[in-house]
Symmetry: C3
Subunit: 214 residues, 3 copies
Amino acid sequence: MTFDPALMLDLVGVFFFAVSGSLLAARKGFDLVGSVLLGSMVGLGGGVVRDIVLNTGPPVAFTNPVYLAPPLLAAVIVYFMPRNIERSSRLLLTFDAGGLALFCITGALKALNAGMNPVAALLLGVTTAVGGGILRDVTANEVPRLFDPKDLYAIPAFVGAGLATALWNLGWFNLVTGTLSAAVVFSLRMLSLRFGWHAPLAARSWVRPRFRRG
Amino acid sequence: MTFDPALMLDLVGVFFFAVSGSLLAARKGFDLVGSVLLGSMVGLGGGVVRDIVLNTGPPVAFTNPVYLAPPLLAAVIVYFMPRNIERSSRLLLTFDAGGLALFCITGALKALNAGMNPVAALLLGVTTAVGGGILRDVTANEVPRLFDPKDLYAIPAFVGAGLATALWNLGWFNLVTGTLSAAVVFSLRMLSLRFGWHAPLAARSWVRPRFRRG
Amino acid sequence: MTFDPALMLDLVGVFFFAVSGSLLAARKGFDLVGSVLLGSMVGLGGGVVRDIVLNTGPPVAFTNPVYLAPPLLAAVIVYFMPRNIERSSRLLLTFDAGGLALFCITGALKALNAGMNPVAALLLGVTTAVGGGILRDVTANEVPRLFDPKDLYAIPAFVGAGLATALWNLGWFNLVTGTLSAAVVFSLRMLSLRFGWHAPLAARSWVRPRFRRG
């Protein structure tokens, strides 16, 4: 097996999302098996949807067993976390942001390598990035974090997928520019959480956010 | 690009469903990005599932950028709606019925054109029609409207998919008969809402409906 | 149509899961159409996901109309059930266990016959087995039963998929060994319910289960 930068970024993204899934499993009182399964759904779900849409054969998460390592590792790490750290929702959001940052890049890249047009690559990058989190939150019976109007979630993913698509078309995509793009997405997401950057509400006539989770 | 009646009906259906999604996003207090995304999931979700089941290449919603226009338009329209109109659940149900009416027709048609047998075309028409609404309601953490026992939802879709399949096999399917079939489905759905037409409950022994949303 | 043991086991599994779906539909106050649809989603959903992942053409649930018989039969049976039987959650769990037992076997078998590697077959067996139940519970707006930490759900499915994969690779898979493997899975699941066998929680630091359904 030769070193493949795209595979490595993808596996790190799987790990980040899987940690967010296992942290949610812990908070919800699921067991260790549920932790591995929820981590796998979050970490691998977006990529499975992407591969099914690309329609180029069975999703890589099923055919390449190396994709099982990050969710297992994540479940073990969360299992041994001290209680006060594990309950912090900041930690869950940070790992979620890491997964988001990497998956919008690798998702767009896979779509481009499969011959999709730039718009389709942009959409698939965003779908890959937000898909796992939607699966996680819907499965745990919560309104997806994606729809929380108090910060930015999809916009950073659009930025990242757009950067990846542009870099790839210019022939400038490599491990360095890919990692930098992911860093931009991660920063944008975390800054929006820190400073409450948000988009306008879906209806002009609403005065205050009425968003309720769960 | 030549004029394609099936594409036009499909895009109108996407728009109707997308409006229902954006209206729900407004009511739930999501932001404008969430409105576009939920509208896209409702409007494009059923078709994506259909195309994945047909297994004839990447779903058209990803490869043909014209499919992005209806959800964007729907989100903008809902954004500028006056508050009293936008809060009306009748409006949401009407647009939902429009999407249902068109998608059971176009879904069955796409399946027939892809070489599926009539039963499969019927099932895929219904799946396309109800799929987006299930995604919308599950994502917004509500019990799918499809399961509300106080009116008819799936039965009109079966009627429409059956009409489309029959017309296609008789060689009579065209823009006029297709639109008429959609009008039948729409009327049936709206009349069932107006007059409370409903099917028997799932269990004979239950005396009264106990359906709770959310 | 010649006798096909794999098809027969698959149809029995669809029936078991469909009964669990129709029982939930009855309890939730859905109507008879909703009962058929929820039964179909539970009974056919896992297999549809499996076939989409295998990417070998349209899912068999759409192309072979015989797959519609079990959900219809299940909805009729539940409709005529006396109230006290139908409300028993033990009955729902027993049928669910039957579906789980058969689907982890038939799912792994289909994957192996499609040329997947043993690890992928194991994963697909488990995905097929738990997929329908996740769809059922998420659609009915409940936390999936899979994540209930008070008994074992995924572990029996892993055992069954592992047994099927091993038997197939040894050339020993047939109707007898397949049925025996399913019996092992069913027994393991039912015994875990009876005696409260469970896995460790997702986080070591939690003292008591805090699992809440719904």
